[in-house]
């Protein structure tokens, strides 16, 4: 484990580390474009210059191994001059697209330009013209003029997705990224190239021109697309969610996430959600507040015994399962709980990178909770119960990510056989509104609006915090079940101690809430 000194700080690094890895690992800042910890070293941007004692020339940090006793700095005037010119060469042919470029606000060139001093360009010649708005595939658009040819995207399609769609064609400053005729950039991980592109050369068709990044807040959570549970960062504001990007977790998803998971957020935005509770009786739908509906539901659910069955999908949090199963047993007094395991047969599927066959984020959590409460009802029993009429009422905690519930309509048709159905659902689905029986639809909070824990395919429990609230009228599973059990709802903080957070925004929020007690104590609905 060689020791080195970087900018005066002594650091010990694993053998074989490069200087940039040492700096990255110890939180030191060094400007770079082409290096990425999840890809091979290219060494082409020439921006990560460092000065090494004993070496008259500046070196690149990404391809220089750390040796014992090495003294490194990237703050000297020599290094700054080299980095400034490195940036200059990137800018001389770069189009002044900032006003129309998505990357503005999170652009590597803008960041470096602000860092190395806002200077006037010395380039007075005509800039190189290349293709703009090139359709690379169904999800990604290329602007060759903005491209700094760092080759991250090409390395991604070669090393990570192993689909080899992208190449760099031509020589010199005529070089352009591209795909070949008949083979567009269309694999299950394409949009990762947009994440890793340091500039606005690659843009996501989903996000293009929709929002300026400085109007977006971000919060970390996990993806609920499958049982892998990739760690993600969601970007949102009052209008809803705009995009999702992966967050590095070396044990779960590395640096990447799949495109399917990335597009899921759309169901959580308000326009796709149930906002009011709905009740269908005698062919007509009436709307009411969730609280009012829950009061009515409690009348036939509380104490219903084995006439009532609970159907759960693996898409809710461990905390919700714990409380719900407890209430179902003590207040509803029923032992009939069934696991809607929509992907039982494909659960073991794995594409080798990130995508797994179980499209539920918390199947393991649900199975553990069921086991703990010794509930082992099978789906066949539910079907038999509905058939015979023994099961009168079915309460369903429906799946959030409808994209993956291929058997949704079939299950709806089955459950429609019950006399009374309470269906708790996040996003709208036409099949529910076609149900013919006495059905209550309860609007649910998406997992993005809750704190909780998902357990992934390998048994790893991942805790996440609420990202934002999109439909404040909706309830989470615990709240709904409390109301069905005839309890009142009080907002119980997770603990009695107000948890301090180090994000300044959170601190301000907390102070504001402490002052505003009226908001804090919510009475019965």
């Amino acid at each position: 484990m060689p020791k080195c000194t970087i900018n005066g700080q002594e650091i010990e690094v694993p053998a074989g580390s490069t200087i940039i890895e040492a700096m990255h690992g110890s939180g030191q800042h060094i400007a770079h474009y082409c290096w990425h910890p999840g890809l091979s070293v290219a060494g082409v941007c020439r921006l990560c210059m460092v000065e090494i004692e004993g070496n008259p020339r500046v070196q690149i940090a990404c391809n220089t191994a750390v040796t014992e006793g090495m003294k490194i700095n990237n703050t000297s005037a020599k290094v700054k001059e080299a980095a400034k010119w490195g940036l200059d060469f990137h800018l001389i042919n770069h189009p002044l697209d900032c006003p129309i470029c998505d990357q503005a606000g999170e652009c590597g060139l803008q960041d470096q330009y602000m860092e190395f001093g806002k200077y006037d360009p010395e380039m007075a010649e005509r800039k190189v013209k290349k293709h703009k708005v090139v359709d690379l595939g169904p999800t990604v658009v290329l602007d060759s003029e903005r491209c700094i040819l760092c080759s991250r995207c090409v390395r991604f399609t070669t090393e990570v997705s192993k689909t080899n769609e992208l190449g760099i064609f031509n020589r010199g400053d005529r070089s352009e990224i591209g795909v070949v005729e008949g083979k567009p950039l269309d694999n299950k991980y394409s949009v990762n190239t947009v994440d890793i592109c340091p500039v606005g050369a690659l843009t996501s068709k989903d996000f293009r021109f929709r929002q300026r990044v400085w109007y977006l807040k971000d919060a970390d959570t996990v993806c609920n697309g499958c049982s892998t549970g990739c760690n993600v960062k969601t970007y949102f504001n009052r209008e809803g969610l705009f995009r999702v990007k992966p967050v590095h977790n070396k044990d779960v998803n590395g640096y990447w996430m799949c495109d399917e998971g990335r597009n899921l957020y759309q169901y959580a935005n308000r326009e796709h959600r149930y906002v009011k509770a709905m009740h269908r009786e005698n062919g007509a739908w009436t709307e009411m507040t969730p609280g009012a509906a829950a009061k009515e539901i409690a009348k036939f659910v509380k104490g219903a015994g084995d006439k009532a069955a609970l159907v759960l999908t693996g898409q809710y949090t461990n905390e919700e399962y714990a409380r719900v199963l407890q209430l179902w047993s003590t207040e509803v007094k029923s032992k009939k709980v069934y696991h809607w395991n929509s992907h039982e047969k494909t659960a073991a599927d794995f594409d080798g990178l990130l995508i797994r066959g179980d499209k539920n984020p918390n199947t393991k959590g649900l199975q553990a909770a069921l086991q703990q409460h010794q509930l082992s009802g099978t789906w066949a029993e539910l079907e038999a119960g509905l058939q015979s009429g023994q099961i009168h009422t079915v309460v369903v905690a429906g799946p959030e990510n409808l994209q993956f519930a291929a058997d949704f309509e079939a299950k709806v048709a089955l459950i429609n056989k019950a006399k009374k159905v309470v269906w708790m659902q996040t996003a709208k689905h036409a099949a529910l509104e076609k149900m013919s029986t006495d059905v209550w639809i309860m609007p649910m909070k998406s997992y993005l609006e809750k704190d909780g824990t998902f357990v992934n395919y390998s048994g790893r429990a991942q805790n996440f915090k609420r990202v934002t609230t999109i439909v404040s009228e909706a309830l989470n599973l615990t709240e709904a079940m409390e109301l069905f059990a005839g309890n009142q709802l009080t907002i119980r903080p997770q603990s009695d101690v107000l948890v301090e957070s180090d994000r300044p925004a959170d601190r301000v929020r907390l102070e504001h809430r402490k002052k505003n007690e009226f908001v804090f104590r919510r009475g019965p609905l």
């Binding site: 082409v44 191994a65 010119w85 490195g86 060469f89 010395e122 040819l149 020589r171 010199g172």
Partner: protein
Amino acid sequence: METKLLTEHYHVENFHTLTGYQAKGGYEVLKKALKLQPQQIIDEVKASGLRGRGGAGFPTGTKWGFLPKNNEPRYLLCNADEGEPGTCKDRVMMERAPHQLIEGMVISGHAVGSKKGYIYVRGEYVHVIRILETAVKEAYAAGFLGKNILGSGLDFDLDVYGGAGAYIVGEETGLISSLEGDKGQPKLKPPFPAVQGYLRKPTIVNNVETLAAVVPILKDGAAAYRKYGTEKSPGTKLFSLSGNIVRPGNYEVPLGYSLSDFIQKEGGGMRPGRKLKAVIPGGSSAPVLTADEVAKANLDYESLAGLGSMLGSGAVIVIDDSQCMVDLLGVLMHFYHHESCGQCTPCREGTGWLDKILHSILEGKGRLQDIDLLLKVADNMKGRTICALSDAAALPVLSFVTKFRDEFEYFVREGRSKVKGKAHAQMHH
């Protein structure tokens, strides 16, 4: 002072055939070398002081010594890409004496423990590729290549590979990339080819002339080789003499030979009515020398380095007073702009920028600050890239602008050439 060490029999009509080559003692040195231990050959080459004849001038024996001392398979690649403007000496060697190269390669293969070699020839040299392929076939038939060469128990397979037109594959790792079936883009160093080269195996890349020189060195010994040349630059070298000269051609002279003598005696001096203005002594990437500096220069590594230039590939390009230096720099900048592989930013963008600035000046639209801008850009392209093409583009800019600044300033101020009286657009479209 032409010296006929390598080129002794190049005038012989059939020297390029196996019969012709053997008639003049060809492959006798190989027989001798096969009886030696590899380390003996490496030591002899080290002692001779032979330095890479392609351009870098790195001591050959030392380079061979970087290979791992184990049984790991390694490759010997001959760099016959010869793209440096002004250079055509390797072409002559391969046209007239392909077997000299082959013999040199087998001996070198034995020295470095390589069982497989390639001669990478630039694609435009179609006839050279054909000559080499024929010679290789002859050598196989005679048992000088292949398995158990001349009963020595040693194997060496050789093949010829043709490129497809890119100056950058003359860079050793660019050549390796091209041979691997990729774009000919240089690779990051470290790792160095001797450790991880072609297909990630240890590889030695040597110039045509370097490998051919192994033959006379092994024939008469290092001490005899050192009788030619100087202390630090021993031996002979082939020089391509071209440009504004009476007798352009390829000449073998001992290193240390006076550049002025070379131009006057071998080259026949200037054309009638013309005066010497400048000389590029080592291929277009070498800093230009003024006529005064030429008078002080000898054709060896130290003398030229001392004058701020380099021996390089040994391409001596003579420029007389009919030429406009701004115009010629424009020709060179167009070349480097065209040939940059595009991988790393300073070179990719810098070569384009330099070309454009020169073009503006040549069209009569230059600004006075462009001259200093050329120097600044070139200065910041040096020493910051994966390979030396960026430096090769920068050095001519720095030397031309510094030494012939008056011509640049005239062009900017007057909008036309001091020498030719016209702007570029009126001369060439």
